[in-house]
């Protein structure tokens, strides 16, 4: 018999049972009664979305927390970013399709690293009707720990981030699946 079989079958079975009992006890001991992360704010799925108040080029003000009850897509973008430009028509189409169900897009332009005079012509060129917000200080980019453009955050009606999509362009199908998820 192979010499590495050092334990008898009965001994092994006792060991297995002991390990499984210890494992089950550990699972019970480490059960999570606190719930999770929803009370904390962070730019990650499962967390409450970091709040902000920003203005459109016409001076209209939007605060994220005041949109609680609506499904929100926060899209961070810049005019010089090709994938940001490429996904705008699909976002506009989805906005038109779902806005009556309580869906809103907050497209936050990274104005502090963009050409401010290019923003309004850009929105006209693409026929964008959802709110375009101007991020002039970098505070929101910092709160959302922005590393790549575009970055999109799908926020459910409770204000919790359901999905994060880094990079782009997002296809219409991806947008649709994520929007339907946060509208539920």
């Amino acid at each position: 018999m192979y010499t590495q079989i050092i334990m008898q079958k009965n001994q092994r079975i006792i060991l297995y049972i002991l390990i499984l009992i210890v494992g089950a006890s550990w699972i019970a001991l480490s059960a999570d009664g606190t719930g999770a992360t929803a009370s904390t704010s962070a730019p990650q799925a499962g967390f409450s979305a970091p709040d902000f108040t920003l203005q459109t080029p016409t001076g209209e003000s939007y605060t994220l927390s005041e949109l609680r009850g609506q499904a929100v897509l926060v899209n961070l973008w810049a005019t010089w970013c090709p994938p940001c430009r490429a996904e705008m028509p699909a976002i506009e189409k989805m906005y038109q399709e779902y806005k009556d169900q309580g869906f809103i897009v907050l497209a936050i332009n990274m104005t502090y690293q963009d050409d401010p005079f290019a923003i309004v012509p850009f929105t006209k060129e693409y026929g964008l009707t959802f709110p375009i917000l101007l991020e002039e200080t970098g505070d929101v980019a910092s709160a959302y720990q922005l590393r790549s453009l575009p970055s999109s955050y799908f926020i459910n009606r409770a204000g919790i981030i359901a999905e994060v999509v880094i990079g782009g362009p997002m296809s219409e199908a991806l947008l649709r699946t994520r929007i339907e998820q946060i509208l539920k």
């Binding site: 018999m1 192979y2 590495q4 079989i5 079958k9 092994r12 079975i13 297995y16 390990i19 499984l20 494992g23 089950a24 550990w26 699972i27 019970a28 001991l29 480490s30 059960a31 999570d32 009664g33 999770a36 992360t37 904390t40 704010s41 962070a42 730019p43 990650q44 499962g46 967390f47 590393r147 790549s148 999905e163 999509v165 880094i166 990079g167 997002m170 296809s171 219409e172 199908a173 991806l174 649709r176 699946t177 339907e180």
Partner: protein, 247 residues
């Protein structure tokens, strides 16, 4: 250091870590494939077909789960978004393709799994690192001195825990004496991985909760551990009976 690493491999670049891990894992698996009775060609082929099946299967599975959406936007099926992907469906399709390939090539099931074990272990190291880069699979809040600042809190570095556990598993398996019993190497890997997950998932901050606030990942790891023990006994029995293991 961690911040630099996270900046360097921030999403979507964290996928590079998985690709690198797959490449290193396959290279290591190749080195020892023949001691398990599997040729390098067969090992490379089965991995290649599995990766292709994983990629396509993940997309198909996602599309099937969201059929009405894709009927409205059919071109989305071939869009370049990596987020249109279902990892569970991908794994299932890859497994089915591996089984079909193995049947056709008459590969021995347990020997093939043993030969692929270095690939799986290195992939699990890559997975831990990609979690660290993306900030996913993060830990719960802690005031321990080795906590890391992530998502606006000091947290258990669960991604580092899982990477270290995988490195330890790799060291134990790579430097251990060759075991001629087919399946034992793979089952040891599966047992160590399930055991470490069972322990480490307790420190995660975003588990899915089931039953009475139990962490789903721990329950799955516990079940896998039980299955591994049962399979160990079956393998021992088969070996002591002196039978050639079959597919």
């Amino acid at each position: 250091m961690i911040t630099l690493f996270r900046n360097l491999f921030s999403p979507p670049r964290h996928m590079i870590l998985l690709v690198m891990a797959a490449w290193i894992g396959l290279s290591l698996a190749e080195k020892r494939a023949e001691r398990h009775g599997i040729s390098k060609d067969n090992l490379n082929n089965v991995t290649f077909y599995c990766l292709i099946a994983f990629t396509i299967g993940g997309r198909i599975s996602f599309v099937l789960q969201n059929t009405p959406t894709f009927l409205k936007s059919p071109l989305g099926i071939i869009s370049i978004n990596p987020d249109i992907f279902d990892p569970f469906g991908a794994s299932a399709v890859a497994f089915i393709v591996a089984m079909i390939y193995g049947q056709r090539r008459k590969l021995l099931f347990w020997n093939t799994l043993d030969a692929l074990t270095p690939f799986f272990v290195i992939l699990s190291i890559g997975l831990g690192l990609s979690h660290l880069a993306a900030g996913t699979a993060f830990g719960k809040e802690t005031d321990l001195p080795w906590g890391i600042n992530l998502w606006n809190a000091t947290r258990h570095p669960t991604q580092i825990y899982e990477t270290l556990a995988s490195l330890l598993t790799f060291s134990l398996l790579w430097f251990k004496k060759h075991d001629p019993r087919p399946g034992i190497l793979f089952l040891t890997f599966a047992t160590l991985t399930a055991g470490s997950q069972l322990f480490l998932q307790a420190f995660r901050g975003n588990n899915t909760l089931v039953f009475n606030n139990l962490r789903q990942e721990q329950v799955i790891a516990w079940v896998v551990l039980g299955i591994c023990f049962a399979l160990f006994e079956l393998r021992f029995k088969r070996y002591t009976q002196g039978k050639t293991p079959q597919k």
